[in-house]
């Protein structure tokens, strides 16, 4: 189905050539996710559990990297205090594109138990980072984190590489037309 449709316009950005290349690139990125060793609070315990033998995060192709330069995604596992937020943002900015973020647990999603009176807590990590997947739970079960991981991989598989540039150019053009 998908492959046959691509035969209509073989050299187009959706065509069999670029489309397949895009699929391959997306496949590589989704199957080889290196995560940053970055634990913040109690969610990090569950995160460690996912790393350990019973759940084995490496099944998804996730290898721990301690340097943000080599990591592909970061799991915000726990409460992000305002003091840590600076550091977290810096670590995220040090990561090489393409980079992804999984917000794990209530604290990372929206401040969690501290959302109302926590004077020291960032109310949701999406205030400073673009979060890709939100995993609810306080803390989430290890399986829930794995589901988040699978969702992230699905998202990466669906990404546009060649079409994105075209689409952005079109949007740009449309914006300019509107402006005039």
């Amino acid at each position: 189905m998908g492959l046959l449709n691509r035969l209509n316009d073989p050299i187009g950005l959706d065509g069999i050539i670029f489309g397949t290349v895009e699929d391959l690139l997306n496949w590589g990125r989704s199957k080889s996710d290196w995560y940053l060793q970055f634990g913040l609070a109690c969610c990090a315990i569950e995160f460690m559990a996912v790393n350990a033998s019973h759940f084995d995060m490496m099944r998804y192709g996730c290898i721990p990297r301690s340097s943000p330069r080599q990591a592909d995604f970061v799991i915000i596992s726990g409460t992000v205090t305002l003091k840590m937020a600076d550091r977290l943002k810096r670590v995220y900015e040090q990561m090489a594109e393409p980079k992804y973020v999984i917000a794990m647990g209530s604290c990372a999603n929206s401040g969690g138990p501290y959302w109302e009176h926590g004077y020291h807590v960032l109310k949701g990590v999406d205030r400073i980072l673009p979060v890709d997947v939100y995993v609810p739970g306080c803390p989430p079960r290890p399986e829930a984190l794995q589901e988040g991981l699978i969702l992230l991989q699905k998202k990466i598989r669906m990404e546009e590489i060649f079409r994105k540039r075209k689409r952005l150019a079109e949007e740009d053009l449309a914006n300019q037309m509107n402006y005039k």
Partner: protein, 184 residues
């Protein structure tokens, strides 16, 4: 001198012990549970969900009488309930378990990004409408998808119905005010 050789021997020997242990583990059966294939809710899983597992909340709107106990019990205020009082003669349908209801529950929102899954709301609930389920797979790409409005989800009240009920209550209030003013 004797200590030196003892030390060297100890270093080599302990390394060999360690290597024997790891090579032993290399050929053992692994303990990994392959999550999407082996689900913890299946009995085949290495451990099924414990009976007191605290996961996603579920609210049975047919059982909810809008008493707000759960919202008051919630330590993080992640439950927000809006109720509309019913006018006389237009009472909501009774609870599924048979109790009387005086309030239309027009909105029952639980923000699962804030919820700390402490289960206090389930204990506070007089009718047992709010319960902890074993469902944990509800990650999402969008934070606002995690705010569950159970009224909408279960379609217990349509928007028109809510508007109608609100209007009725407003009219009722007006009439009451008029009645309160007129006798003077």
């Amino acid at each position: 001198m004797k200590d030196y050789f003892k030390n060297v021997w100890l270093g080599v020997w302990t390394a060999l012990i360690g290597m024997r242990i790891t090579i032993d583990h290399l050929f053992r059966k692994n303990v990994t549970v392959q999550y999407p294939n082996v689900h913890p809710k299946d009995k085949a899983g290495w451990m099924d969900m414990p009976s007191n597992a605290r996961n996603r909340l579920y609210v049975d709107m047919d059982e909810c009488n809008g008493c707000n106990s759960c919202a008051r019990a919630c330590p993080v205020n992640c439950i927000s309930i809006e109720t509309v009082r019913s006018v006389p003669g237009d009472a909501p349908p009774p609870l599924a378990s048979g109790g009387k209801r005086n309030l239309w529950v027009s909105q029952f929102e639980i923000d699962f990004t804030k919820c700390c899954f402490c289960s206090l709301c389930t204990e506070a609930c007089p009718t047992g409408a709010i319960v902890m389920t074993t469902e944990f797979e509800y990650s999402s790409y969008n934070r606002y998808d995690l705010v569950y409005n159970f009224v909408k989800l279960q379609n217990s009240m349509s928007d028109e119905k809510i508007a109608e009920v609100k209007e009725k209550w407003a009219e009722h209030q007006k009439e009451k005010k008029k009645e309160a003013v007129e006798p003077k």
